[in-house]
Symmetry: C2
Subunit: 481 residues, 2 copies
């Protein structure tokens, strides 16, 4: 454990984030390879709870889990021209087996479209094989040359959920894109993570896509973090890999494919957005520990206090709560509060002499740090209600915060001011041309997230913030990770 | 799908195995890299059920799940001399990131002792940090130069459960080894996979271990398959990585470590051992689909048949069975039987006109192919009982078969006969010397599995099958994968 030093969430986010993931034992980035990290037990439990949620949403919507190889031969990766052009600089290459050079180089998958298409070619024969919807949760690799950042910009993405689908028509693939967007909305809503959904500009779409839709959230330092992407791949990969299907009329056609992904960045966002100066704040349904019981054993009543705590503990277990009864005798209740607050446990129950007299428990919620006494016979009911309240409250607070950071402006200096000084997102009118888009980026020192798909901004009568021509869209711009 | 051609389980096991894993869609080895394969949805579900079982056993016994990086820098891998000496020829090396050569080569983990020890050094300070018991389920890589075999001898092991523990004393590590053996026994028992537990001979222990214990099972072709290993690593890795702890007396000592692993070979064994000429036979508790309902819709009673099937289907779902109602109208009931038998679904329910009249369902069990009629009002009870019966029956049959293949012999020619012609395991007296051990291997054309730990053979008065000196142990020898 590194020493506890609670830097401020709001004033030095980057340091806060690094400290809190170490101290709360979520992610350990001291492994001796740049840009890769270890998930210790507590972080692993958060990760598994988030994965379980994701899997449920995908399974319920007819996706099937699969597992593809990690190694992609160079010739396969090169089949789709745009794809390799983008990834070429970022791929780790395996060149030797033992002491021998390999006959052909093998890439550590940066993403799996090419591996998947090689098998889709074998799996898809007929229109009745479509749509085909699969996903896997795997590690992927990017040789990042920029500064790495734990969980956010890494060389081994340990937790990449990538879905891949194939369809008979462009329209059906588009319907799938919409389904994916809806699934991701539900996923982020469950995690109380607010988001902006944007159509990425042409110059920033996925390598090989017809178009890309992205989910971005905003971290406390005002930089957007891409937390999910959905790509319509058209027939681009199908043509490169010759994946066709037999139509009912006896002719063959290339399939249309989509892909959509989410990585452990969502867990980084979960931590970054809900946390505070005391440490993690976890939504109850993904918290590894939902409730901690801390006895306050004043002299003379220790036995009764422990007995009541034990009874409450058993009762909570019986009701399915993930609960810890912290019986440690070598540290004070205050130290326990500090420890469990750092870990982000949503609810703390204290039981001391006064509680015994009054037949109550004192309940403290992690998100607001509010405390109140609850009659023991209403405890289960109140805890269930409180879990819902905490979730709703985290959701509301996070969305309110994000919305407060977004400003519509029609002047490039004001846009730059929002992006560079006010740690926000500027929404500006844009003519739709790439040159103006790139100039927006240059002059605001930000990056264009794209055209909002989740908000209807009235563009009528507005003029492009760069060229002054009639605006076609409003567009989001801000600092990004 | 490849064309169905049911080769014989008992007469051409190798072909049977390749055919059945393809046709039942368990594992697809057509991916264009030698020795790696894809888990399609059905196989993935079997895999996930097996993993769930393993995780439960580990979680219940105080192990915590973690996730370590896939890349191990060369200097780390080289720290334990015996370890790298063994793995050097088998390691895949990453040498380039994008177009640039890396400063130091990175190995694709062949196993994670070295990565784990690098972090244990940071995590372990004090005797109160011990024992430390973690596990992960990850992909590992071996550059196999021998012929690869789907799921059995692969270059990417996709499903390696590796546990790593650290302890204050040699004895506590040994206690952990025993715990691991017990956990593995329960795991294989649950999967109805029979096993031989052997102390591997010195010349075949894990690279860096003090000793290695292995679980082997026997496949239908009489070759042993190693399905689990448990290693006492002593202080070998702790010394190489300088992992020490503070003792209560204020001095520092190196920790003692163990490691134990199981891979997807266990799923290969599950398929190989229980299967038959009709395809897979899955134990009910790990079968993705436990029950399939096939309507027999004779003319005139179709509606009633479908209605009853639907009712039964809903009832089974309500009781938590994993059930499929096969309503397909373009294939015959016979074709459905064939299809679901191939997939290894443990129980089939047929409902036709006669059943309607008699208020029964016809139940067919996959393992014996026996059929009988059950009154509908006893269906749930009978199905639960049948699931238990099938599991017990698979267990008994598999163990009986394994035991029938093991013979004690004191003559080297007889031993060779068992190993080479009777597809069995010879148990022979041995003086304990490496030279005699290696000669046993040479003269029987088999490999020594080691000294039995699960059977007490009386060695008194027996003489080494090679040198004629007093035997110290009985030792197992057979063909292996």
């Amino acid at each position: 454990m590194v020493e506890i030093s609670r830097t401020k969430w709001s004033t030095d986010f980057s340091k806060w984030f690094r400290d809190v993931i170490s101290q709360a034992e979520v992610y350990d980035y001291r492994y001796p390879v740049k840009g890769v990290g270890v998930w210790p037990p507590y972080g692993m439990k958060i990760r598994n709870n988030v994965i379980t949620l994701m899997k449920r949403l995908l399974d319920e919507s007819g996706h099937e889990e699969v597992l593809f190889p990690m190694l992609i031969p160079e010739d396969l990766l090169r089949k789709e021209a745009e794809h390799i052009a983008k990834f070429e600089e970022e791929v780790f290459w395996v060149t030797h087996g033992g002491k021998r050079p390999l006959e052909r180089r093998l890439a550590l998958r940066p993403t799996s479209e090419t591996a998947i298409m090689a098998m889709f070619k074998l799996w898809i024969k007929d229109h009745t094989d479509l749509p085909l919807k699969v996903y896997q949760i795997v590690n992927v690799f990017r040789y990042e040359t920029k500064a790495t950042h734990p969980m956010i910009r890494v060389r081994e993405v340990t937790t990449f959920k990538e879905a891949h689908t194939a369809h008979a028509t462009f329209e059906d693939a588009e319907r799938q894109v919409k389904e994916a967007v809806e699934i991701y909305k539900r996923f982020f809503d469950e995690l109380c993570i607010p988001y902006m959904i944007s159509l990425r500009p042409e110059w920033d779409k996925f390598a090989g896509a017809v178009y890309s839709i992205a989910f971005d959230t905003l971290l406390p330092d005002g930089r957007a973090l891409q937390i999910g992407t959905v790509h319509h791949l058209g027939q681009n990969f199908a043509k490169a890999f010759e994946v066709t299907y037999l139509k009912p009329d006896g002719t063959h056609e290339y399939v249309y494919t989509t892909s959509y992904g989410i990585s452990e960045r969502v867990i980084a966002a979960l931590i970054a957005i809900h946390g505070d100066d005391h440490g993690l704040v976890l939504p109850p349904h993904v918290a590894p520990i939902q409730i901690v019981i801390v006895p306050i054993p004043y002299k003379g009543v220790e036995k009764e206090v422990y007995k009541t705590c034990e009874e409450v503990y058993k009762e909570l277990l019986k009701h399915g709560f993930r609960v810890v009864y912290d019986k440690r005798e070598d540290i004070t209740p205050g130290e326990k509060y500090y420890y469990w607050e750092l870990k982000g446990v949503p609810i703390r129950i204290e039981i001391g002499p006064r509680n015994l007299k009054e037949n109550t428990a004192t309940i403290s919620r992690r998100d607001t740090l509010d405390r109140k006494d609850i009659p023991l016979d209403r405890l289960i009911y109140e805890l269930k209600k409180l879990m819902d309240d905490i979730k709703q409250s985290l959701y509301d607070r996070a969305w309110k915060w994000l919305r407060s950071r977004v400003g519509i402006v029609e002047d490039i200096e004001q846009a730059k001011d929002i992006v560079t000084k006010r740690q926000g997102v500027a929404v500006v009118p844009w003519c739709g041309s790439e040159s103006c888009g790139l100039e927006i980026e240059e002059r605001t020192e930000g990056r264009v997230l794209g055209v909002p798909l989740d908000e209807k901004y009235d563009v009528k009568g507005r003029r492009c913030i760069i060229c002054g021509r009639e605006a076609k869209h409003m567009i989001r711009v801000c600092k990004t990770y």
